[in-house]
């Protein structure tokens, strides 16, 4: 007789948590990260997936039931965001129908959204900077916020002058935009909660309870741009370090707040600009790892498990990033050599990922099976390994290859 969903749920959760705690599980867990793969698999367009909350839920459900991973990731808070992007007229993303073809995924538009001379403004009062300068710049419909008053100056009879901007029709419209965006966000969160409950009933635990970002990437990706932040390392290192410190504290605070609404104690932290080839090891330690480690340790202190995604190659960083408590986190790697990583990190943190995107998109199921078997042989001894694609399951992966990955993990990943 087959296992009940509840038994499967417990078994899958234990399997993953054993690996995180560096205990040998019953078998290697299979945690495929989905983005638009389920969408292509179900024959939806990316545009439909970003706008139709029910269709994307159905697409994810189908992929999960067919691949039977040990945990699921939800499509709602990062994928089905078309309506929200439209309400905000958001400039950092191009999406289907808005700069990208209907069958293509949304893409990030990097820019210098914060100018070099604005460090002091951000440092002095982050909320004021976001309201007056940053949000009007990155959200077309929030542009009138640049006319908001200085809030500390709304006091005693001075409130007359302080309140006049709120009477302007454009400012009122911007507040109406925020309200509509808030209602849409609530709908999305509602869908995410319902999807999580449905998956739990089907026997799948959730992968993540919250998302965070490395402080260096927060500033580099969304504020200064790659050129901006890389040059700041030389031109204004003290200001950059001061802002990194501030952003670290804000990130810890907001991550802990967002986790109050969920029982899933895992925080996903994808990384971008600190990998091999981007900066020297010395700069990495000073500008990248210092603040990221602070974030990781703060989360672990609160009983949470950071899942840190090291993109690209990170071989030169392994000795440095080993400096975290044992058995308390998960490191996802894209192209880092798992044999080397196992040797350096094997007694500290479990590792996940590595099946190449090129193989999953253009290879054959036999090749995928052979690759997974070898990965388990090389990096799976005694536990510590979780199978996933190097960048999750690529959007254009052949379905038969994703299925081969699932099968190979079950076939070759058993212990004992």
């Amino acid at each position: 007789m087959g296992k009940s969903p509840e038994e499967l749920y417990q078994e899958r959760a234990k399997r993953v948590w054993d690996v995180i705690a560096l205990k040998e599980p019953d078998r290697v867990p299979f945690l495929p990260t989905f983005t638009f793969f389920p969408v292509n698999y179900a024959g939806l367009s990316c545009e439909e997936a970003m706008y139709d909350y029910d269709k994307i839920g159905a697409a994810y459900r189908k992929a999960l039931l067919d691949l039977e991973p040990d945990m699921f990731n939800s499509p709602y808070l990062t994928l089905a965001i078309g309506p929200l992007l439209e309400i905000l007229d958001y400039k950092l993303i191009r999406w289907p129908g808005h700069g990208v073809a209907p069958d293509k995924t949304y893409q990030f538009v990097e820019g210098e959204y914060m100018k070099a001379e604005e460090y002091d403004d951000f440092l002095f009062d982050p909320t004021d900077y976001m309201l007056h300068t940053y949000l009007p710049r990155v959200c077309g419909t929030l542009a009138p916020f640049s006319r908001l008053p200085n809030f500390p100056m709304i006091y005693y009879t001075r409130f007359v002058a302080g309140l006049t901007p709120f009477g302007e029709p454009e400012v009122g419209e911007a507040f109406e935009v925020l309200r509509r965006a808030g209602v849409e966000s609530q709908r999305l969160v509602g869908k995410a909660v319902a999807f999580g409950q449905e998956m739990q009933a089907l026997g799948f635990p959730a992968q993540y309870g919250a998302f965070a970002i490395a402080p260096f990437d927060y500033i580099g990706d969304f504020f200064r741009g790659t050129r901006g932040i890389m040059v700041d390392i030389y031109r204004r290192p003290e200001k950059l370090l001061a802002l990194l410190d501030k952003v670290t504290r804000i990130t810890i605070q907001s991550t802990l707040r967002s986790l109050q609404a969920t029982s899933v104690p895992v925080v996903f932290i994808p990384l971008h600009k600190g990998i091999d080839g981007f900066m020297s090891l010395e700069h990495f330690k000073t500008f990248y790892w210092g603040s990221l480690r602070q974030l990781i340790l703060a989360l672990i202190d609160e009983g949470l498990t950071p899942c840190v995604f090291w993109e690209g190659h990170c071989e030169s960083r392994l000795e440095t990033i080993r400096d975290i408590p044992k058995g308390k986190a998960m490191y996802r790697f894209e192209q880092t050599d798992f044999a080397i990583a196992k040797e350096v990190l094997g007694d500290t943190v479990c590792m996940r990922g590595n099946v190449p995107a090129s193989l999953l998109c253009t290879g054959s199921p036999d090749e995928v099976t052979a690759y997974c078997k070898q990965l388990i042989d090389v990096a799976g001894k005694g536990g510590g390994l979780i199978i996933d694609g190097a960048i999750g399951i690529p959007d254009e992966a052949k379905p038969e290859n994703a299925l081969a990955m699932a099968r190979a993990t079950r076939q070759y990943g058993c212990y004992g």
């Binding site: 191009r94 700069g99 990208v100 073809a101 293509k104 995924t105 893409q107 990030f108 538009v109 990097e110 790659t226 050129r227 890389m230 040059v231 390392i233 030389y234 031109r235 080839g277 981007f278 900066m279 020297s280 700069h283 993109e311 690209g312 894209e334 190449p356 995107a357 090129s358 193989l359 998109c361 253009t362 290879g363 190097a390 960048i391 690529p394 959007d395 254009e396």
Partner: protein
């Protein structure tokens, strides 16, 4: 003083480099000589990047210094700087992908190493590559991508170039985070680069023995 300018740029001493350049130009030194020294410094930066002592912060800061000094020198110049070129490269991010950081790094390194680079930008359709190949007649084509969504367009672009009869006279290199030997074979490119320096090495190899272009 010119050698100190070279050391300052190559040593990431931006303020010193800019004040030296200003002094030299105001003191009547030929602006072409100043720019020649900048180019020499950029070669050193490129070498250190190759040796993995320099990375993006150094490469990008050196680029900014070069730009600032060029702007200072321009109004004083009577003729343009003549640079000997190793060869011509047409480069772009393929259709469907709008990312350009990797492509821009490769473009800058190729320029530092003496190539004439024609950058077509991002989300470039096959026909635009074909038009540029006809107009520029490069020895080398570089196709860039960050996303897996670009695998098919890469293949399609190279197919279109072949169908247009332009493939034989052209070396094609591809690069970007998800690109590997498997995608090289899949797309039909001649080579792929796992990092930006490989693009320079490939380009040098492919143009070795070619007559330098004036």
């Amino acid at each position: 003083m010119l050698s100190e300018l070279i050391d300052s740029i190559a040593g990431m001493k931006e303020e010193r480099a800019l004040s030296l350049a200003r002094e030299l130009l105001e003191g009547g030194v030929d602006p072409l000589k100043v720019l020649e020294s900048c180019r020499e410094a950029m070669t050193i930066v490129g070498q250190r990047f190759e040796e993995c002592t320099y990375y993006l912060p150094e490469l990008m800061l050196a680029g900014e210094m070069l730009q600032e000094i060029s702007q200072m020198a321009k109004p004083r110049m009577t003729k343009g700087l003549e640079v000997r070129r190793r060869g011509r490269v047409v480069i772009g991010t393929v259709q469907g992908d709008i990312h350009d950081i990797g492509k821009n790094i490769v473009t800058m390194l190729l320029d530092v190493h003496g190539f004439e680079v024609h950058d077509l930008g991002v989300d470039v359709p096959p026909q635009k590559f074909i038009d540029a190949i006809k107009a520029v007649q490069p020895e080398i084509l570089g196709l860039s991508a960050l996303l897996t969504v670009a695998f098919e367009p890469m293949k399609r672009t190279i197919q279109a170039i072949t169908e247009a009869g332009l493939r034989d006279s052209l070396k094609i290199m591809i690069g970007g985070a998800p690109i590997d030997e498997r995608i090289r074979q899949y797309s039909g490119a001649d080579a792929y680069g796992a990092d930006a320096m490989v693009a320079v090495e490939l380009s040098k190899g492919w143009t070795e023995g070619h007559k330098t272009l004036a």
